[in-house]
Amino acid sequence: MTNSNNQISTEEALAALETLDSAKTKSNKSFRPALWLNFIISLFTGIVCFAAPFSSGNSLWTFIMLVSAAGLLISMATWYILLRVRGVKQNIIPYGLKNKFFNLALGILVALVILGSIELYKAGFLWIPYVAGPLNAIFISYMLYSFPTGEWK
């Protein structure tokens, strides 16, 4: 069953890798959230990032941030449920160390943008939330479209 000797040619190996690529493309397409859902998830992420710097000492912005965070969780759960109904159960934590690091790095990057925008806003850069919010929203939208399985290519 397992063969440690390489008994196939380079061309055959290349063809097999192309088959794998095509399978990965198929799985990416079937995992990808619908555009409306991608928009909602990105929008909530953007609002959380935008509202975070304003929320310090302001109960209205704190409320907006919390509602958006809840909306973000609900929309992510909706994506999970829709996929499950279609017959696919997502990996909450992707398999493999490389993929785990990839997802951890994404999480840290998004968190850094939020924390950075809070700190810079406090330091007097009042325009920061207007950049950080859309930046995080666009970034999340791109990641949901290109890496819906959470796997590094």
Binding site: N6, A16, A23, S27, Y95, E151
Partner: protein, 94 residues
Amino acid sequence: MNSSQFNALIHAPNRLQICALLTSASSMEFVVLKEQLDVSDSVLSKHIKSLEDAGYVLLNKKALNGRQRTWLSLTSSGHQAFSGHVKALKKIVG
């Protein structure tokens, strides 16, 4: 454990695709795999059986609204064998 090792069982195109699709998900329904691979029930069953016998795939049958749903997932040894095989293929290509 994850070292590169060519695996003749996984190397068959359909089985390679089955493993590739199952690595992306925690589990997948038989019908979804069938649609993705564009093969008949019997062909897919045959490939799944080989992978199951090797201990690479786990079958979980559940009944929902009177309909039998078969969920498939890759076992830990299946994940290792698949990633080892992919590494071996990349090694051959260079």
